[in-house]
Amino acid sequence: MTQANDYSLAELCIVAASRAFENDGEVLATGIGVIPRLAASLAMKTTNPDLMMTDSEAWMLSEPNPLGKRADAFVPATESWMGFSRIFDNVWSGKRHAMLGPTQIDRYGQSNTSALGGTYEQPKVMMLGARGFPGNSISHPNSFFVPSHNTRVFMDGECDFVSSIGYNPARLPKGHSLDDVDIRLVITDLCVMDFGGPQHQIRLVSLHPGITVEQVQENTGYPVHVDGDVATTAAPTQEQLDIIAALDPHNQRAAQIKDNPPGDRS
């Protein structure tokens, strides 16, 4: 397939993020938020049709639902019930890969969804709470999507509250190895990273077109491992763009990254 010339940064991120799921086999792909959900849906429609997915409510689907309001005549491709209590049976079996957007991600890949600043008893900013992050992070692979790559998200020091386990030797539970933690891809508006550097250091996997290594490092509060020449994130193909458009008929993806910039910023 030839790569498209005209695509948005959101679409580039969707395609890059969909790669996180391509070798997963038969697992539940959970993308929370528009770009992660479209990424998982795109993977299910293209590179990994064995993926499982819910309707974000209580049913498993054999085909991903398009986002947003659907025609009255629309019939979802349900294949089983999958209420919240049953989700945990799946989570704890490990047959799941979630992609989520925490507020902080530290050098260990630990993340924070709970609270910022102040004390634990009286935080300066209360956020969502730990949600399912503790269980997700120790039970199955996880990826992160960050729509604005900056040093507030990728901050110096440790997360204000550690919602998910990462590669931090000081917090490693007895009888566990750091290799039990499985953080896959970190997709941002600047680049794709993983934790494949020395001693699970964060590592640059690819730069989005027009972005430099220096920009990534300046916007990350800790050193990013760079291994030789860094690849450029592959542009979407027209086929991928068409599938994304069909999955997102109300163009919610255009509102996910500030000012909806083009994918190629060179």
Binding site: G118, L128, S137
Partner: protein, 291 residues
């Protein structure tokens, strides 16, 4: 046996300092009419266990709460519950912050009469460092450490369902009963509000009986309150009230905002409340959410 009672009779069985479990999930199928009856009472010092939404926010804002056991408190489309935020950011409440699945395990342990259920959930996170009441233990069967999620024993659970009969057979016809079966089982007393009161014969159809998620011995009382989940949803009967939640969230930005909200809507009874929000027909016509 006839377990019918009024919301006021439910609240008369609650006491200061009790641990109250509240069913539903975020803005979905919350027993809000029973919560409103607590708001009208002088109850205080409650510990609330909930997959939290406006139930938690309103009770915190009204000064009813000593402690919240939570994994999140959210209105979904308004991600951060405004009054829970204020309660946390002013240090007004104690918390036990846990993972969503840990809450299920804690309720299950209480339901099954166990002191705890071992899990690896929480290891390596601040769940175990910020919660002195949650212990990490060795296993007799391997060399790993495990989180001993303690039983979340509830004095009372409050749940809203689509249909019930007067004996406490409860039907949740929406796509998800969430953890409400475990809330019903984890509590000393479980009080259920229902949108529709049906005769027992209704359940003689197995397709209807299949949507009953706990047996009636786990239901203490039944309160018939059509529209009683408003402003949360009771799919498939009605969705959650987006404009109402927006007004509620906006009130949190005002000086003494909760009082303004309560003055505008709460009233002296559920009948008053429903008049103040446009009536039962308006509630029943709220569109279902699209996920």
């Amino acid at each position: 046996m006839d377990k019918q009672m009024t919301a006021a009779e439910v609240v008369s069985q609650l006491e200061d300092g009790m641990t109250i479990g509240i069913g539903g999930w975020g803005p979905r199928r919350k027993p809000m009419a029973l919560v409103r009856e607590i708001l009208r009472s002088d109850l205080k010092e409650l510990t609330v266990v909930s997959y939290g939404g406006a139930d938690v926010g309103m009770l915190c804002a009204a000064g009813k709460v000593k402690k919240v056991v939570f994994a999140f408190v959210s209105l979904d489309f308004i991600p951060l519950e405004p009054y829970f935020r204020i309660a946390r950011q002013t240090g007004a409440i104690e918390v036990m912050e846990i993972d969503e699945g840990m809450m299920l395990l804690g309720l299950r342990a209480a339901a099954w009469g166990l002191p705890y259920i071992p899990t690896e959930v929480g290891l390596g996170t601040d769940i175990v460092t910020k919660n002195p009441a949650i212990k990490v233990i060795d296993s007799p069967y391997d060399d790993k450490e495990w989180v001993a999620m303690p039983a979340l024993r509830l004095d009372v659970s409050l749940i809203h369902v689509d249909r019930a009969d007067k004996r406490g057979v409860c039907q949740i016809a929406g796509p998800d009963h969430y953890m409400d079966d475990m809330y019903a089982r984890a509590a000393g007393k479980t009080f259920v509000s229902c949108d529709e009161l049906v005769p027992t014969e209704f359940f003689h159809n197995p397709a209807e009986a299949r949507l009953v998620h706990w047996e009636r011995s786990a239901t203490t009382g039944v309160v018939h309150i059509p529209g009683g989940a408003h402003p949360s949803s009771c799919t498939p009967l009605y969705g959650f009230d987006v404009p109402h939640f927006k007004a509620y969230a906006a009130s949190a930005k005002e000086e003494n905002g909760i009082q303004g909200y309560l003055d505008q809507f709460l009233g002296a009874s559920e009948e008053d409340y429903q008049k103040n929000v446009g009536g039962l027909d308006a509630i029943r016509s709220i569109e279902l959410p699209t996920y």
